[in-house]
Amino acid sequence: MFLLSFLLIPIIAAIVLLFIKQDSKSQLIAVGAALLSLFAAFYILTNATGAFDAAWLPVLNSRFVLQADGLSKILILLTAIAFPAIFIATGKNIVNNKNVFLSLMLFTQAGLMGVFLAGDALLFYFFWELALIPVYFLCSIWGGEKRIAVTFKFFIYTFLGSLFMLIGIILVYSKTADHNFLIESFKHANLTTAQQAIAFALFFIAFAIKMPIFPLHTWQPDAYEQSPTAVTMVLSAVMVKMGLYGVIRWLLPLFPIAASSHAIMVIDLSVIGLLYASFIAIKQDDIKRLIAYSSIAHIGLMSATLFTNRIIGTQGVLIQLFSHGINVLGLWIIADIIEQQTGTRSMKNLGGLAKKQPTLAILLVAFAFANIALPLTNAFVGEFLMFNSLFQYNPWIAAAAGVSVVLAAIYTLNMVQKVAYGTMSEAVDKMVAPNKNAQGVLIVLIVIVFVTGVYPQPLFELTKDTLQQLFVK
């Protein structure tokens, strides 16, 4: 029953917001609702909560089932941290119709929470789409210059992907013993090897577009660049995790045979994407695009590791899901501060941040280290485990993926160098006093980065049950 609060809090707040015209009040409500979700997330970390189960569509045998295991909890925690952080950090940005903006953001949050909690395939599909619709409007109304075309591409891409998944769901549903959508029945569906391969492909397309995996990634950099920064943060910190979550929760357990026989293809694609994105990131001049490509690279590594189907690798991915979210959130917030204050995102026009705003520069360096997974930062633990697993699977693939670490260091440090150091540029010189709220958020995030980097044990504990389910039969 308690799990329902993750849906109700944002939805109620979102509806209330539609009737609040005052900007400051609506900001207060949004932050309040987001913090309330955060408390709820902390509550389920420490207390056992039963699944919520109610009849939904008796005709179809679909049930409204919400359940949370370690995987759900870690992503709920990430979502619950991301939204208040985003609201507080970008609260000062000028946005028309702020109440509608915040309301749509909260609807997105509800959709995301639903995706991470759903224990019924049809319900999962439902939330999967619901998370997308508000984002479409957010990007199209408040985005950059080319927003309409770019967002449309993003929308059609993901919508098409999810339609494929719908077919997959119908296919598996028709083969379940007692015709229902519960994940347990789906796991025991009576599929032949050929049918499993088809269903695998149908689900995989949806998740691959969302993550995104190499040939299907083209929507992403444009969408990240054109979206308003608050939405970009949601997209890259939380929303891409939907694809990985889908792989761990649905794809691998449902179709183990197909997954292992197609693993090599997926791993190859992921590694190609990883290297490709890293090389492109080196050439970027726009900070937003750089972070976008860096994010594609990280996700590529995670998806490659997942398909090696080894327990250490999966363990690495489970905590990297969280760590990557926190790191990329930090980078986006810094990028947003820089863009808001200097009016540019081009690294050519930046430089000398360390002299003008030392605190911000230190934070930037810290997040950059986390982005290249230096020891002591949170990403190190996850990446270490992931490379370990890739190496066990195939040393050559691990070597190829390992190149990306070097490339990540190149583009990230290059960015730090151009932005923080070098000669003071005009744009940076104009910067006024830093935004206290945003810096506060950044400091909280950096504390998380180092605490989970030095002492990741709580995260391991949290995800233990998921690993057991996946690997101990």
Binding site: L57, V59, L60, L130, I133, Y173, S174
Partner: protein, 461 residues
């Protein structure tokens, strides 16, 4: 039985009303009350109570499915008139005539949901079609409307001729007009009869495809929908099409097996062609009204899935689809009627000047596109499921969803025009009550989007 008799009677009554009563408001109210009577009469039969009960000698048979389909059609028509009555009044001189025609059309629809004999199918189609020709040409001083009416009449009567020819062939083969005709076994020296039967069925198939505007028999649709007065387009594209679909399914769920394997091939061809023509052409339209005409062709492609095989999903699915599609289309035409012109540009800035109306339009469009949380999603879901249950090839399902993705493109173009492009919309005065009426439709769609089973409960109990 009740529905056929009561709707015919009401039609006659309304005809005389238009002669005696001059106030359009009163006429509208009489019509609405008439619809309530019709719904009650039909529900009464659903519960086993007849106005007149006599043996139809196998001409008609009343199944729960057919009667329930009737109820849904009547309720949707009631909503349609409740919303659009004022617009109907503005066309022509005598709106009472139109109301009478609506009742006659529904009389035809009630026959189409209950026929058990191909002759009754023919009569039902004719009763349904002839008033439509008049409605299409109702805007007498408008050349386009006249053109549309003439086109529709010529092509419509031609297709009815083909239908009749098909029926004659089947009679020649089986010696019966009954739907459950005696089986013909080709191996026992009935080869010729088998050919005749197949030819007859294919001719009926063609004629029915014409009525539901499926490709390659769709050519009349864009011109007629575009030329007809917008209120009547909305009626034609929804209620009439739905009734034709129920008849289509009734004929072919029983008879399709006589065609053997070629049936699936034939149907797949029509489905793919319909979706191709509808979706691809809709993408390139500059007028919203024409876009909706092509989108209605595309939607017919989805509805054709129900023909693929007999299953609960097909029966429930077609009911859900016709209700959801009709509501969404009535809603979107309800907005379109209020526009001064029908181009996409006319919608620019609507999101700012009329936020509620733009939001409602978004709900209607999303439902047509099949986005979750709107009824359209479950309608499409049921259709895809029906197709899978019937054992259709996966390729057909994948083609269907590719086209569904294309449909998002043109539906969302309108959303983009409303919200993301600044401008002043070319819209007439819209009063609050009218918007609230559309809100009711949108709420119905959203409720069906979460609890589609509300619609089916009554089908079984």
């Amino acid at each position: 039985m009740n529905a056929i008799i009561v709707s015919a009677l009401l039609g006659v009554i309304l005809m005389f009303c238009s002669w005696g009563i001059k106030s359009p408001r009163l006429q509208k109210n009489i019509t609405l009350v008439g619809f309530l009577v019709l719904i009650v009469a039909n529900l009464a039969q659903l519960n086993g109570w007849y106005v007149i009960d006599f043996d139809t000698k196998g001409m008609l048979s009343f199944s729960r499915f057919g009667l329930y389909a009737n109820t849904l059609l009547f309720i949707v028509t009631f909503l349609y008139i409740w919303i659009n009555a004022e617009e109907v009044d503005q066309i022509g001189n005598q709106s009472g005539d139109f109301y009478a025609l609506f009742f006659f059309i529904l009389c035809g629809a009630s026959i189409l949901t209950s026929f058990d004999n191909l002759l009754m199918l023919f009569i039902g189609i004719e009763i349904l079609s002839i008033p439509l020709y008049i409605l299409t040409g109702a805007d007498k001083k408008n050349l386009l409307s006249n053109e549309a009416s003439l086109k529709y009449f010529l092509m419509g009567s031609f297709s009815t001729g083909i239908l009749l020819l098909g029926i004659a062939f089947i009679y020649g083969a089986t010696g019966s007009f009954r739907l459950q005709a005696p089986q013909i076994v080709p191996s026992q020296g009935f080869a010729m009869e088998q050919y005749l039967l197949s030819a007859g069925l294919i001719l009926i198939f063609a004629a029915m495809n014409f009525k539901v505007s499926a490709a390659p028999f769709h050519f009349w649709t864009p011109d007629v929908y575009d030329g007809a007065p917008t209120v009547f387009t909305s009626f034609m594209a929804t209620i009439v099409k739905s009734a034709a679909f129920v008849a289509f399914i009734t004929v072919f769920h029983g008879q399709a097996k006589s065609l053997g394997n070629s049936w699936e091939l034939l149907l797949s061809f029509v489905i793919v062609a319909t979706m191709l023509v509808g979706n691809i052409t809709a993408v390139f339209q500059r007028s919203v009204k024409r876009m909706l005409a092509y989108s209605s062709i595309a939607q017919a492609g989805f509805m054709l899935f129900a023909l693929y095989g007999v299953s609960d999903f097909a029966n429930e699915g077609i009911l859900l689809y016709m209700v959801v599609y009709s509501l969404a289309t009535i809603g979107i035409f309800g907005v379109l009627i209020k526009m001064k012109e029908y181009s996409f540009e006319a919608f620019h800035g609507l999101g700012k000047s009329h936020p509620l109306l733009a939001f409602l339009t978004t709900v209607f469009l999303m439902s047509l596109a099949g986005i979750p949380l709107t009824g359209g999603f479950f309608a499409k879901y049921y259709m895809l499921n029906a197709l899978m249950v019937a054992g259709a090839g996966l390729w057909l399902v994948i083609v269907a969803i590719l086209f569904a993705a294309i449909s998002v493109y043109y539906y969302f173009r309108l959303i983009q025009a409303m919200y993301f492009v600044p401008g002043t919309p070319a819209i007439k005065e819209v009063d609050k009550t009218y918007t609230y009426k559309l809100l009711v439709i949108a709420i119905l769609l959203l409720v069906l989007g979460v609890f589609p089973n509300l619609l089916f409960n009554y089908l079984y109990f």
